[in-house]
């Protein structure tokens, strides 16, 4: 049994769970990591073991399937589930090793000081790290009481906390609907759901090929149910509106909504103020790409992990599934995970058992494309920004500072503007503001371009060349991101520079790093990962509440998380 392939799965949401199950079924040994102490990811976020409920299933779609899968994995003799496991670095390049990657993990309570280090060198890696909400900035979005839509839902499902009594939901995409449903189930009054996309665009995006949508089984009834939920609770659902400002001193007290045109540019004279004690805003999703980028995987021009229809990335032995490959929802993630896990385990891609999942996979790929057409972020949104609007929440850098820095220094490289302004250099490692900062730099550069005809022509030529170049090769690789020409600000062909790259994948305390170096514990390689029950138990950090007791916390007032290595 020791010669079974060892498959490491990172992320225990729908994609990771499905990958783990199908890899086991194909005969592999599986280690499943998740940073939370509960499985299920954001989709099946639920009350923890310590807070049982009689009817958890009432808040979820596919809950029975999740419970079944969780128990299959927990009882499988060749499956090791490690919760509270934070991957903080991923390395490649050890030619001597049979493993494609080395994955460094710290195991223990989040942001603790005494977590257990662990290193994995699997035969195959399945990345199922998911995505987080992308919220575009607007004046006042840093006020307490303004949340990402994902936060509103996570607090409702995972804490049974309602973010407020009068809640405004805004942004773009069908995922605002389940958020509205979760909130009404907390007893909150949802004052309105404001979708930025205009009715015409929604119609074009969703109705052009209705049969395609029918093919996304499970998705259509889910959306119909949400629509009915809106009627039942009489939640106004408005399209072509955006939240453009949050008001309050120490917390949000009201918001201003405004009509937007097809490009999401606010239409003058349409501002309206609404009283609200909480706001949940999301304009889409940002895939969590840092591990895939660290592994050297090709990233597509729309910034997802490039995979083939078997979930294989450009790096042999590294697979990806779920929202890091495209935003398609939980059913897509399940199908992608099943296929990727099977192939990662060395299973035959032509296997009959894979046919249904491969078909579903294709259907949902079409779904993701429609989603982007109907709800994708449009450039006009920057029209609701003011110069004093915070862009980078960590370092409190305003949009005006970023724009004026671009103009004054004639620097348009992402890294140089980051270094000058500190935008994107804070503790979240640009996860929240990175793409926004990139966009502000791009638009400031455009606005600042001299108005002479020849300069404009040059500008447009350089952009065309850049687009062509990016179509022909991976948009983001560590090398492209590191290369200097992109930051020169004068090179006519700019390789795209991305804020998605994070050499230190997650903030780690300097004290913990020092401890790692000092203890130099033996690494746990694939061959060392025994499958006898004893070894397995030793490696497992289960969801048992006993293991949640805090470690003895040494007094380390100076122990701060390391910041991004680019810092």
């Amino acid at each position: 049994m020791t010669d079974a392939r060892h498959v490491l799965v990172v992320g225990a949401g729908p994609a990771g769970l499905a990958a783990a199950e199908s890899a086991l079924a194909a005969g592999a040994r599986v280690t499943l990591l998740d940073s939370s102490d509960e499985l299920g990811g954001q989709y099946w976020r639920h009350l923890p073991v310590a807070r049982p409920a009689a009817h958890e299933e009432r808040l979820h779609h596919g809950w029975q399937g999740f419970v079944r899968r969780r128990s299959v994995l927990a009882q499988h003799p060749h499956c090791t589930i490690v919760t509270e496991a934070q991957v903080w670095a991923l390395e490649t390049g050890d030619a001597a090793a049979a493993s494609p990657v080395t994955v460094h993990v710290l195991i223990g309570p989040p942001d603790g000081t005494d977590r257990e280090p662990q290193t994995y060198r699997p035969d195959a890696l399945v990345l199922a790290t998911g995505a987080h909400d992308r919220t575009l900035p607007f004046p006042g979005w840093q006020l307490p009481g303004v949340y990402s839509a994902g936060a509103a839902q996570a607090l409702a499902k995972g804490e049974r906390v309602s973010i407020g009594d009068r809640v405004v939901i805004a942004g773009a995409g069908p995922f605002l609907l389940p958020v509205a449903k979760s909130l009404t189930q907390t007893g909150a009054r949802v004052v309105g759901v404001f979708e930025a996309s205009t009715p015409a665009r929604l119609l074009r995006g969703w109705s052009s090929k209705p049969l395609e949508l029918l093919g996304a089984r499970g998705k259509a009834p889910e959306l119909v149910e949400y629509a009915l939920g809106h009627l039942r609770h009489r939640i106004p659902y408005r399209t072509g509106w955006a939240v453009v400002e949050a008001h309050g001193t120490d917390r949000v007290e009201s918001v201003t909504i405004q009509k937007v045109d097809a490009s999401w540019a606010p239409i003058p004279g349409t501002r309206r103020r609404i009283a609200a004690d909480a706001v949940a805003v999301s304009h889409g999703f940002t895939p969590r790409l840092e591990l895939a980028i660290a592994a050297g995987c090709d990233i597509t021009s729309d910034r997802f992990v490039r995979v083939d229809d078997l979930g294989r990335t450009s790096v042999p032995g590294v697979f990806a599934a779920g929202e890091i490959t495209s935003i398609g929802g939980a059913d897509a993630a399940l199908a992608e995970g099943s296929v990727a896990g099977h192939v990662a385990a060395g299973g035959d891609p032509a296997d009959v058992s894979l046919r249904a999942d491969r078909r579903r996979r294709r259907t949902f790929t079409a779904f993701a494309a429609r989603l982007e057409r109907a709800h994708g972020i449009r450039a006009g949104w920057t029209g609701w920004l003011r110069d004093d609007t915070i862009a980078c929440r960590c370092e409190e850098v305003s949009c005006g500072t970023i724009r004026s820095t671009v103009r004054r220094t004639a620097q348009t490289g992402v890294r140089s503007v980051k270094l000058t302004t500190r935008a994107g250099l804070g503790i979240c490692q640009a996860r929240i503001c990175g793409r926004t900062v990139e966009e502000l730099i791009r638009t400031a550069e455009h606005d600042a371009a001299p108005a002479t005809p020849s300069a404009s022509a040059n500008g447009s030529v350089s952009r065309t060349v850049s687009t062509t170049a990016s179509a022909k090769r991976p948009t983001v690789t560590p090398d492209a991101s590191l290369s200097a020409p992109g930051d020169s600000g004068t090179d006519p062909v700019r390789p795209p520079v991305s804020t998605d790259r994070r050499p230190i994948v997650s903030p780690v305390r300097l004290g913990e790093l020092a401890g790692l170096a000092a203890s130099a514990r033996p690494s746990l390689g694939a061959a060392d990962l025994g499958v006898s029950t004893d070894d397995r138990d030793a490696a497992v950090v289960s969801a048992s509440p006993d293991l949640l007791d805090p470690p003895d916390l040494p007094d380390l007032p100076d122990a701060r998380p390391a910041r991004s290595a680019e810092d």
Binding site: S35, D37, A54, H55, H132, G150, A151, V161, D250
Partner: protein, 107 residues
């Protein structure tokens, strides 16, 4: 009103009994149940912020709710920079508002 816990009698999931726990925020006691995160305990008590920013000295609490934005970091039992939305509260936790002063520039 603002954030609050769903009343158990109205909660469709029908929560079963859970242990009561207590923590303090800057010395003020707050009650919750085992299994809540520190953010969960505080929000359920109507507390929205537990950090002040370095530059603007503005209040911050939960923003992303899933451990990505680090806006909710707080000092727990003497250890700083702990994401309140990720760390489960333990009975007796001593939580302190975090405020990081910017280093003085002397010339």
């Amino acid at each position: 009103m603002a954030a609050r816990m769903i009343r158990a009698s109205n909660d469709p999931v029908q929560p079963l009994s859970a242990d009561r726990i207590g923590l303090t925020l800057d010395g003020t006691p707050h009650e919750g149940v085992r299994g809540q995160t520190i953010a969960g305990v505080l929000l359920a008590e109507g507390v929205l912020s537990w950090r002040r920013t370095s530059v603007g000295d503005s209040p911050r609490g939960v923003f992303c709710g899933i451990g990505v934005c680090f806006d909710c970091i707080v000092e727990v039992n003497g250890v700083r920079d702990i994401r309140a939305c990720q760390r489960r509260a333990q009975d007796g936790d001593v939580v302190r508002t975090q405020h990081d002063e910017l280093p003085e520039v002397t010339s």
